[in-house]
Symmetry: C2
Subunit: 219 residues, 2 copies
Amino acid sequence: MTKPGSTSRTTLKRLAEKASDKISDLHSILDDNFVAHVGVVIDGSPLVIPMAYGRSEDVIYLHGSSGSRLMRHLEKEPEVCVTVTELNALQVSRSTFNSSMHYRSVVIFGTAKLVPSQEKQRALDVVSEALIPGRVAEARPTTKKEVAGTLILSLSMEEASVKISAGEIDDPEEDINRGYWAGTIPLTTVVGDAIPADEESVSLPVPESVKRLIARRSR
Amino acid sequence: MTKPGSTSRTTLKRLAEKASDKISDLHSILDDNFVAHVGVVIDGSPLVIPMAYGRSEDVIYLHGSSGSRLMRHLEKEPEVCVTVTELNALQVSRSTFNSSMHYRSVVIFGTAKLVPSQEKQRALDVVSEALIPGRVAEARPTTKKEVAGTLILSLSMEEASVKISAGEIDDPEEDINRGYWAGTIPLTTVVGDAIPADEESVSLPVPESVKRLIARRSR
């Protein structure tokens, strides 16, 4: 696939040192996060909606109910911009002006394509497994009717940019040794203990996929 | 101000029970989060970029360096869609089909307006205080040159929608008592201990604003 940041609109003109052209970074940001912000143009106006997604190789899948306004629009296979952002810290500089954030983000440009009927089940499973690996095999299988009622879109990651901001505080020389503090405040998404939904679930063991997710994501 | 969800494009047609028309919900979601996804249309194509923001009454401010591609475009005062999403849990249903997420999200439509020179300092402070309340008074003051080199935009929240998904598992009757588990996996953004940037900062006390943020956001 094309390296991140290799087209005119994915080349970072500013803060170029924060750009990454590593496909491994692109994949890791997508695989470590749960929500994408999907942008489309409807009647000339921008619309940005959060969606669940899943990656398989160099394709991401987006899914929703066929009843929603965004999904009805996506059915037309429009141009999309899909952005995934992971916030890792507040960077507190000596001045608020130089303060910033540590984050990793991916921006993907392309045309969303409807996944054909015979590939929908697999694509849905990609999204489910992206959220909770191993869950598909444990859950009640999806019915044909459910698959039929779902729209799922694919987006090839031909044109993407990756930005990673994790740098040191870069206060100018004249701000040093004047008694102002600088540092970072780490932010982490932590997974809590699973809460069973009802009596039946209380009586059952917590599924292995859920236990593994919690173990991997807890501190 | 106009209630959330009261215009044609902010009325939720699907999952209407998740819509909120409370201004207090709109404000609380914006105040509790750090990153907005800002969508614009450039040459007919969507672009979605994460940005820091701050709220003051019914206006949000967005800021960035005047050098960036997005900010140069925002300088034209285009239509924007600003979306803030807070992910609170993975909702694990008995089927992956019914599985979902708990979240709170805000979608704001409007036209970004350049903040005039004489109001820029205050608008910048709104963004800084939104991230770390009390920080402005402790930090090295912003210089006139810094303020001049910054673009800051305001967006009035006349047209917004709020969606809150925190519901119970809604597995259909026929999925119950077949041995499938259902429950939620809570996700929380946790603030870690402040990490001083350098020797000077190690020698200084952690600022009160930073201590308060950590105390409020730690578990």
